[in-house]
């Protein structure tokens, strides 16, 4: 039977898996550039997973839905501002910046709010009762299902048609790879947001509270840290970052948002968080960018259909060989 299978594969057009090394070499730099821009979206979403994991030791399964809410919020805002799917309008720079900032702000507020509400409705009652972590996971899955299905019921199964207000324009080349204005904007904005988030956690009073609870919830509470408030704040920060990521995501993907678009992105962002070291803010950035790049290399090497398998395979490999990730888990470690 195995023999028959082998001959069948040899005869079949395409076979199981082909390695296309020349294509990878050919597209190496453009893959890298695209991957970094796309990976910055993963990085921002990964920050949400990492922050919540650091504080609660909980994988917030519903975080992907927080992201989707942000994407829909950005979409509806642009629609409300009078933009329609179709050809990109010719706008002044000021108008583009203002509209994008507005859409981003609405997305961030919506995602932040949903994240906080989620924490209140789904997680807080369980925490009060000291429920086992299995219960948290199942609740999170249920919550993620509900949000997803709400969009499915109201907006249907087809992706929204993309609304664009910024035309992609190549700015310069790196080793023959074109870098577009959108990629630069996304990358710079994402890194800037990460710097703000990192500064917030590591340098402000509220951030100190987050680190304290991550390190030792009981002692932190005894020292006067309001644990519930810190947890709410963590969800808020994670949600706001996911909202921003949603806008950057919409700027890059060919189609608009779809009700279940958060699922794959959520898993990939989680993979990014684990890759860099879950609970580690720097790890989230590193992991996100690495995953974005790795995914593109995989796509060139194996073909477009295998793009998503790369992330899963990477996730399983890291968890097997280095579950603490590249930089290690560190949100709770003492830092002076």
């Amino acid at each position: 039977m195995v023999h028959q299978l082998a001959t069948a594969v040899a005869q079949g057009d395409g076979g199981w898996i082909d390695f296309n090394v020349p294509l990878l070499v050919d597209r190496f730099w453009s893959n890298t550039v695209d991957g970094l821009a796309y990976g910055s979206v993963y990085a921002l979403v990964a920050l949400g997973y990492t922050l919540v994991y650091g504080v609660l030791r909980l994988i917030n399964f519903a975080h992907s839905e927080v992201f989707v809410v942000g994407a829909f919020a950005a979409y509806f805002t642009l629609e409300g501002l009078g933009f329609r799917p179709g050809p990109t309008p010719q706008l002044s720079t000021l108008s583009i910046v203002a509209n994008l900032l507005l859409a981003g702000a609405v997305a961030m507020i919506a995602s932040g709010l949903v994240a906080v509400v989620l924490e209140r409705v789904a997680y807080r009652p369980l925490r009060r009762r000291n429920a086992p972590s299995l219960v948290f996971l199942i609740t999170a899955i249920g919550a993620s299902f509900v949000v997803q299905q709400l969009f499915f019921v109201t907006r249907g199964a087809n992706p929204e048609r993309a609304i664009r207000i910024l035309r992609p324009r190549p700015l310069f080349e790196v080793f023959g790879a074109k870098v577009t204005n959108i990629q630069i904007i996304v990358l710079v904005a994402a890194v800037a947001l990460w710097v703000v988030a990192d500064g917030f956690v590591n340098r402000t009073r509220l951030g100190r509270g987050i680190r304290a609870v991550a390190q030792d919830p009981t002692t932190a509470t005894l020292m006067g840290v309001n644990r519930e408030r810190v947890i709410m704040l963590t969800f808020l920060v994670g949600g706001v970052l996911a909202g921003a990521a949603a806008l950057f995501y919409l700027m890059q993907i060919p189609q608009g948002v779809v009700y279940n678009g958060g699922f794959l992105l959520g898993i990939k962002a989680f993979t990014a968080a684990v890759l860099g070291g879950v609970g580690n803010l720097r790890g989230a950035l590193l992991g996100g960018l690495l995953l974005g790049v790795a995914e593109n290399y995989g796509q060139s090497l194996l073909g477009g259909a295998w793009r998503d398998v790369v992330a899963f395979a990477l996730l399983i490999t890291i968890l097997m060989f280095r579950p603490t990730g590249i930089l290690g888990e560190s949100l709770g470690r003492a830092r002076v």
Binding site: M1, Q4, L5, A8, V9, Q11, G12, D13, G14, G15, W16, I17, L56, R57, L58, I59, F61, V121, A122, L126, R127, R129, N130, A131, P132, S133, L134, V135, L137, I138, T139, I141, G142, A143, S144, F145, V146, Q148, Q149, L150, F152, V153, T218, F263, I267, F270, V274, G303, A305, W306, D308, V309, A311, F312, A313, L315, I316, L319, M320, P323
Partner: protein, 381 residues
């Protein structure tokens, strides 16, 4: 609020009453109740009771077959989630592997060019699925609960993506004419057809009973005690000398085998396999079936599976919202009654109720598993 508390207490008291009454009966009396009940269950598609029926929306025997198939899946997943306490979000992957093995070995569309009889294919499908359970479990079962959940989710997706993309698995075109069980009526027409649900229902119910006996025996053995120990406290179990990884893999493999079996049954009944039915949403639906009735409680799991499969068939109006409804049900249930409708039974004396009665002097109580004060993250450092 009061009414709500009262109704919750009502369910619990009713469940306990029934449990006490059941365990108070002698073995002979238990059979006296069980046999007519099973006969009734077998007769359901023939009786087609007026209030229960799902017609005209869905053919009632087919609806019953689907409910039974869901029940079989839930029993398999219950071994993993309910008994060993491992959250498996990629269970649909095993189901898919079972269905695809059946399709590859029996369909004329298969590139293998073989058409084995169904009775040969089912054990092969189970074996392949169990093997994939080992392949997935051996490296990943060292991980903690929430990581395991994500990895199994990834596994389920990988299986689906393979079905999408690997050429010999035929993606959306799928496999036609997947074989079913042998056997013909007196006039020569086959017993098992795609349109007749009743023989399939009987087959699956029989399989369920066999699997229940098998799993029940496992639960009452050293293996079952090890699973419960792992579920309750993995570290403690390890310290007490339970080889946790090995037993976790065993739970995974058992669950996978049942998943593969139900996949092969499904493929046979539909007669067609393509890449459409194996997404994460289905995995979560399976999980909901287990959790709804009460993970770790076989009767509860059967009940949960029946609800999950039957409600959208019976009430077509809500079918479109079924995922929304079951998602909400998951949250509400976890917040208010995390042990599910019936709840896991913690058998302190796994040797059974005779030992219990001898020791305590009264029939065994059904203890519903509530949240234990120390099982949260408070103990984690």
């Amino acid at each position: 609020m009061n009414a709500h508390i009262a109704s919750r207490a009502g369910v619990r008291i009713l469940a306990r009453r029934v449990g006490e009454w059941w365990h108070g009966l002698s073995r002979f009396q238990q059979w006296g109740v069980l046999v007519p009940l099973v006969v009734l269950i077998y007769l359901l598609p023939v009786l087609n009771p007026p209030l229960l029926t799902t017609e005209p929306g869905t053919d009632f025997p087919i609806a019953m077959f689907n409910a039974a198939r869901m029940a079989l899946i839930a029993i398999g997943l219950n071994v993993v989630v309910g008994q060993a306490g491992l959250l498996d979000l990629g269970y649909v992957g095993f189901f898919a592997i079972g269905a695809y093995v059946a399709a590859l070995l029996t369909s004329p569309d298969s590139a293998l060019g073989v058409r084995y009889p169904w009775l040969v294919v089912v054990p092969v499908a189970m074996a392949v699925t169990m093997l994939s359970g080992v392949v997935l479990g051996a490296p990943t079962l060292r991980l903690r609960g929430d990581y395991l959940a994500i990895v199994t989710l990834g596994f389920g997706e990988i299986v689906r993506l393979l079905a999408d993309n690997v050429e010999p698995l035929r993606g959306n075109r799928g496999f036609q004419q997947v074989a079913g069980p042998p056997g013909t009526h007196a006039d020569g027409s086959p017993i098992f057809t795609q349109t007749g649900g009743t023989p399939w229902y009987w087959l699956v119910v029989t399989v369920i009973i066999l699997v229940l006996v098998l799993v029940g025996n496992l639960e009452r053995s050293r293996v079952g005690r090890a699973w419960v120990a792992i579920r309750e406290d993995e570290d403690a179990a390890e310290i007490m000398g339970v080889p946790t990884v090995r037993f976790k893999i065993l739970a995974f493999v058992m669950g996978a085998g049942v998943g593969g079996l139900s996949g092969a049954l499904y493929a046979g009944q539909i007669g067609f396999v393509n890449n459409q039915k194996f997404d994460v949403v289905t995995s979560v639906l399976f999980l909901a079936a287990v959790v709804l009735g009460g993970a770790g409680n076989k009767v509860g799991v059967l009940l949960g599976a029946f609800v999950i499969s039957y409600v959208p068939d019976r009430f077509q109006a809500v079918a479109e919202y079924k995922f929304l409804i079951f998602g909400l049900a998951l949250i509400v249930l976890m917040v208010f009654r995390p042990q599910g409708l019936l709840g896991a039974r913690q058998r302190l004396l796994a040797r059974g109720r005779d030992a219990y009665r001898r020791l305590v002097g009264r029939p065994e109580q059904v203890v519903t598993k509530g949240p234990t004060p120390d099982s949260g993250r408070g103990v984690r450092t």
